[in-house]
Symmetry: C2
Subunit: 299 residues, 2 copies
């Protein structure tokens, strides 16, 4: 089966309905370009609120059931016949998650993944908002292949990609919101050297697991007046083949759609003939279940 995947990127405004409108237009354009799977960026419904810690932003979250944006995107996925993973700020009773609903090409909601690894750096105060996810890593059997998802910070962890690959992922997708957070703002224009590191990590996941990787990152500069900071998002969304070669890459500031086609049967043969999975030795990997190579969790 040959599938075409699309990565998209755009600048988010403070107007949620306008963001959803932009996302919808990109999905329609990607589908018109032949995409079967369209990846939107992380939390595209609004600006990146974790730039500061403010209780009011908990009000942006909503339960998955009856969520208006999810319902809208499910109808869109069905109309266009595309697989559409949708990132959203999930309320679950009294806790909140950085979540993603996997929507299949017939509009059915296959289930939720809750971001496992939660960052906390100056300008990325996610630990204030999001409880670390409890779903574990998920791979969904969609109309267009078995798809595994990591959300943003998850992309830095080889464990995420490896578990998705072991669980049968034929494609790994990362919706993301990453850039340079700085005061003074003049530093925002410095060369985003970190974006190379960020890409290299994911190219490595693709190469080591022999699975294509797709990343969608937002663009634009978002200011937070209360904190006196701003983030310039890197863009640089990309698609990697199964050897860690970037097959397409977006710029740092333009709204863009990238597409690439993969033959999933050829990829499966590639992984089998690569023989790496055959030779793993889980009985020697116990230290992966530790934090410092010594203390051990139950697993």
């Amino acid at each position: 089966m040959i599938v075409t995947v699309a990565a998209t990127q755009f600048a988010c405004s403070t107007d949620s309905s306008k963001n959803v409108e932009t996302a919808e237009r990109l999905v329609r354009d990607a589908a018109a370009q032949g995409a079967n799977i369209v990846l939107l960026q992380e939390l595209f419904g609004g600006q990146y609120f974790p730039q500061t810690e403010s209780y009011e932003y908990f009000g942006l979250a909503a339960e998955a059931e009856g969520h208006p944006v999810l319902a809208h995107m499910a109808a869109l996925a069905k109309e266009l016949g595309v697989v559409l993973p949708v990132s959203f700020f999930e309320r679950a009773g009294t806790v909140h998650f950085n979540s993603l609903m996997m929507i299949d090409a017939d509009g059915s909601m296959l289930g939720i993944y809750r971001k496992t690894h939660i960052p906390d750096d100056p300008g990325y105060y996610e630990k204030f908002y999001f409880t670390p996810g409890d779903t574990g890593f998920r791979v969904w059997n969609t109309k267009f292949g078995k798809i595994g998802i990591g959300i943003c910070w998850d992309q830095w962890f080889p464990e995420t990609a490896r578990i998705l690959a072991l669980s049968g992922a034929e494609l790994i997708l990362y919706p993301t919101a990453i850039g340079t957070c700085a005061v003074p703002e003049s530093q925002l224009d410095s060369d985003p050297a970190d974006h190379v590191h960020w890409q290299n990590v994911m190219l490595g996941h693709a190469a080591a697991n022999m699975v294509p990787v797709v990343a969608s990152n937002r663009i634009g500069t978002e200011r937070c007046e209360s904190a006196g900071t701003a983030i310039r998002f890197w863009g640089a969304s990309f698609i990697s083949d199964q050897t860690g070669r970037k097959v397409c890459e977006a710029g740092h500031s333009e709204q863009e759609i990238l597409t690439h086609s993969f033959d999933l049967d050829e990829l499966r043969d590639f992984r089998i003939e690569g023989c790496c999975f055959r030779d793993r030795r889980p009985e020697l990997y116990g230290r992966l279940l530790t934090l410092d190579g010594k203390n051990r969790f139950g697993g």
Copy 2:
């Protein structure tokens, strides 16, 4: 502490003493260039015998204790004051390993690592010769930093690099023997696209673990008359920084020495400030101890 690491590559002949002589000359030259740690390629004592399965080659193995090449290299390490990991074919009673002795800068032998992941592909019949290693992954506290080792095929496994990093490795070194194995020989000259994949995997390990990676691979074409095959080794030895950026790379056919200096204290700060290790969630990584995402080893 600033340390200078060297990667070397050369073509192996059928004359073992000549190979050891070449290795010694490269180590001396690297030390003269300021190297504190010199990486020689995998099994540099001879041509790559696993190109075919032949009982006679078990005769090439020797016990670590009293091994003449190890003793020679230990004396060299002491004389030059360099850390010298030495790959050798180890006999241990009735089993054999693809092993490495870590020799510290004072000539002391710190211990053995036995290759964990053993390949078996046409032209790389290592499962015939080498029992999968039983040492687990090892990091040695040498005079010039904490050094972790993977041997060749180990380099394809993110588990190897991650466990070494969790165990405190400040540098990860991979002695290697990889190339294109082909009949007819004319195919040996085809573009070694796989060498890019091979590098990408290790660049990813460096980026994800925020640890420099050094790989030494052999060069030259080695013919195996009994099998009617030949391997053209890729060379392309390289050094990666902690972001997955190649800082130097050798060609495909020349004997070479690469050197690069790293500040181990700066690297430690980089890893702490990267914050990825802080946010790992071992309680969700149990599937890493499975082969197919389902059946589980004890760990």
